[in-house]
Symmetry: D2
Subunit: 345 residues, 4 copies
Amino acid sequence: MLHFECDYLEGADQRVLQALVDANEQQYGSYGEDEPCSKARVLIREMTACPSAAVHFVVGGTQANLTVISAALRPWEGVLCADTAHIAVHETGAIEATGHKVLALPGRDGKISASQVEAAYNAHHQDITHEHIVKPAMVYISHPTEMGTLYTREELGALSEFCKAHDLLLFLDGARLGYGLAADPRVDLPFLARCCDAFTIGGTKAGLLFGEAIVLTNPKLAPCFRYAIKQRGGMLAKGWLLGIQFMALLKDGYYVRTCAKANAAAQAIKQAFLDKGVALLVDTPANQVFPILSRPQTASLGEKYGFSHWQQVDQEHTAVRFCVSATTREGAVEALLHDIAEWDD
Amino acid sequence: MLHFECDYLEGADQRVLQALVDANEQQYGSYGEDEPCSKARVLIREMTACPSAAVHFVVGGTQANLTVISAALRPWEGVLCADTAHIAVHETGAIEATGHKVLALPGRDGKISASQVEAAYNAHHQDITHEHIVKPAMVYISHPTEMGTLYTREELGALSEFCKAHDLLLFLDGARLGYGLAADPRVDLPFLARCCDAFTIGGTKAGLLFGEAIVLTNPKLAPCFRYAIKQRGGMLAKGWLLGIQFMALLKDGYYVRTCAKANAAAQAIKQAFLDKGVALLVDTPANQVFPILSRPQTASLGEKYGFSHWQQVDQEHTAVRFCVSATTREGAVEALLHDIAEWDD
Amino acid sequence: MLHFECDYLEGADQRVLQALVDANEQQYGSYGEDEPCSKARVLIREMTACPSAAVHFVVGGTQANLTVISAALRPWEGVLCADTAHIAVHETGAIEATGHKVLALPGRDGKISASQVEAAYNAHHQDITHEHIVKPAMVYISHPTEMGTLYTREELGALSEFCKAHDLLLFLDGARLGYGLAADPRVDLPFLARCCDAFTIGGTKAGLLFGEAIVLTNPKLAPCFRYAIKQRGGMLAKGWLLGIQFMALLKDGYYVRTCAKANAAAQAIKQAFLDKGVALLVDTPANQVFPILSRPQTASLGEKYGFSHWQQVDQEHTAVRFCVSATTREGAVEALLHDIAEWDD
Amino acid sequence: MLHFECDYLEGADQRVLQALVDANEQQYGSYGEDEPCSKARVLIREMTACPSAAVHFVVGGTQANLTVISAALRPWEGVLCADTAHIAVHETGAIEATGHKVLALPGRDGKISASQVEAAYNAHHQDITHEHIVKPAMVYISHPTEMGTLYTREELGALSEFCKAHDLLLFLDGARLGYGLAADPRVDLPFLARCCDAFTIGGTKAGLLFGEAIVLTNPKLAPCFRYAIKQRGGMLAKGWLLGIQFMALLKDGYYVRTCAKANAAAQAIKQAFLDKGVALLVDTPANQVFPILSRPQTASLGEKYGFSHWQQVDQEHTAVRFCVSATTREGAVEALLHDIAEWDD
């Protein structure tokens, strides 16, 4: 069985693993106050062209989201996002568990627009009973989204502009950021750093054993953030494991390069489905593909390949998800491409 | 510089690291639903002689503590512990952040007694205004404690007996459990499983890159615990990393064996200090040593060795901490022993 | 200016006020442990035909909602409700502030149906990643709803049946319950007590200075509830003020009688609008009326009367709300009826 | 039976009750946005000589405390207080339920000193692991304290000076403030307004049916405070009840005058006990008295009078509490004085 259900099925990229092995017998400072983390912070500040950014490393994405959001908001403030956003549906109410309402807006292909945010903002502030309603104070977006889609530079710019003008924080969840950076170089790290108050650079889905870098570009978010990480259970004792891995992943452009390879494989899979007349739930430019398969197609592919059932489309068809990641083996992709091409339905 | 500040200074034990390397290119299920975790669960149920135990793996100790405690308690319930307990002082209020009061009792060498718990319990229940006071519903202890000391089998038995008779949950934080098991075989895993409603088996401080096993022996604590882990940000995407490591650490008695070696080294260091007439803040039988050093002693040792400043004892003396762990190199211990022996003050 | 914006514009019903004045110089026990509260509890148990019900009194509705919900749910559990529910939109995220997600379903005229609850329940439990999603554990409904509508006996029965069969708690917010009881005697207190696990009997909007009675019919919700009230800030020092008021309001059928009068006045206002060809946003049988007024109508009525702007319907029309309560003066209603009748547009 | 257990045994002062009766049939705006509250706000700004103060009214003291503290602190911040503080012991963990640790210091007669706060502050900031420890960010004191004692002007000045210099908020719980103002005119409202960032003026224990005024003198605490009140369940629908009562209580110096009378009565009771050779647990200048009674004394007084058992002193003696409030009847005090004087033991 070859698995494509998600982008965290294997261990680490070879380069990352080697760095961990090389560092294993060294002694390092604890809790992220160590040389590898310091170097990785410097590198991220360079890559984002944001010398004043505060950079922290945590193990997982839900941890990153709940720590950033709960540290940034006051108790009566909520966070606007798409109704498909990870924080809205797949974190078991982690944000609410810190006391904050997630204010979901109807997403389109996983995205929300500046005009939706504007409408929500105005609806709140023009309501004379607004003190009885959670105050929108942050906008959360994912890039790529949970639907595999990307924001354009213009869409991000518009969101950012509205947020900055209306005292809303813009937080971008970059759990799959490398695939986005590789798919659209116009949306690069310096641009994101200028647009957002905070964003994450995802490692877990791009070749790390684990790890998300939190980049706080808004200096108001920086004070006491390590207290927040510790309080929420996210401060890794051997924090240098994160620094070592991120250095190995990020230096010399490796992050985007390795993600680009995965994107190319995913796009080849997408094309193979299209060539067979299979429709897509949504057209996606990065490492996730969402073909709509018939029951027999699902059954036949399911014999050799693992993939996620995403959404029932009609009685006979289901949208499924195939992911390729930085650690997917080439042979697996080739086998899948071959088998799709061989279909005779 | 050779470091003894804490027991999480190096990476993984060689056997653990090799297991990770060997597994790296495999594909595994996500979020802890995988074969390595299943095997580790089976092994832990065997080792604890508790076939009905629910076993979960998380990355860190604060994560384990806050998840167990917040999942077990109702909103108005609090947790009794020593005033030196990790949850009381060194987790940035992680328990309070989930809504629960930590009810600290004056510890003796890091420990609390059944009679202290009884007094606190009675003080609550005999107060006619008890509905205005947080209800004690759980007892948290560490074994070994944060002071390096151990509960005896009798002390644990008495605590357990009182708790079971009075509907209090007993939760044991085993961040350094291996060193305790090695130092006193009368307090073994099956005994702990019978005494406690929940306890952790610490990996981070005993040769894992990271990892704490949560063992829920009370079946009332089991339902929906994975929801709790996810909500608090503790569900590792590549959860099999924990299963792989724990299997490597625990199987064939390796855990206790490797911790016993570290205990022996720590005890040798303790003896070396005693031989030089150095007093101890507290006598400790496991992997932590707390000598009280004079200023010149601190300065001279500090040139070559890292250790923690624990507590100012008087104007001229400071209690410091030396830790030995499963990953401390033998050469480092030998060098330290040699240098203490060479002291001529 | 005569005000109809809401149903809490005046002080207390004369009978209630007199009871307070009569009791003013007595000495009573504190925090709700007093004779007037005891008597009111007995009366409510009789009126609900639920001798085992636990009955508590708090000052306000948001307080009642957040206390009941946070006391009933485990951290990872959420509460299903209509998207117009008070807890979803008008309590500044009070439920989320206690850690729980509000799971809003699209309401129809403020109501949700058993089949909607069933669909939401199944969607959760059939999702293989359900541990990553907030678990629905309670259904919250309002009766009358925030839109002034009522559940029928059959609708409530169906909701209750599904909830009981699927381990969901049913909680009914009765902030305006008296008006509902008066409007539809088939949905009476004993029926509600059998259907619901918890419900409130609203006093603030029906002639009390303040006060909501919380009726916990499910014995699992009873233990330690006074701890919950105190912790959330809802335990009134002079708690007997609540007992006195509820006794005055509830005894001898006064509650329903006085609410029936207000309903009749509201229905007369509704009819007056209908007679003038004014459409309704929603047809309502109790004490709230939602006519859709043109701009000139709004302006002319607005000169003498206060009412709430509810919802923009189109460029030229706005739905507004008129409320009549147990303390609305008859003269005010007569004046309004007269002025609507005199309209010549 | 004549009751002296606490200072909230009767209803309202006659003047306050009359004001409520007079206002009963008026129509007022809801949720505290009404004329009586506006007037009371203006009056309080005048009385405190703090024209920029934000003033809010809530029903109870726990509500006031939890709302102020949770609105003022960031998640990782805690509040220093005496170990006898109401928030530390008698609010069922209300502060922790909002996520914040209460950092209790050993009080002396219910008070803490500037030097204790300084020591706690330094202990935190000088600890190199301070990010693992809750950050002290606020100091909570009660005046009068829960032990009936008062801070002197000098003590308050010193606390305030340290707090202002070290970015700590000073919050004074004035649940019994009127008795304090009456007992020591050197600590007046303008002085408190200059010393504190926030304080409350207690009404419940001084002749209101209910009500605490929250005075926010630090402008940083003002924004969005009404959101906080609503979210925590403290926004009274008929909020004008609070404005009416506070106006009646505060205008023309009535608050201090009526509290002074109660103080005098309490002091007479204290003197009566002293005259009989009864020792005091603590000497108190305001409306609470803490005699240490023998078993026979307790029994004989207990036949006719209610009082609180405060603390077991030895096998034979118990400290008890007698309170006099603004609504205690003169006859009751006289009877008690007479009966103590008649003692022949």
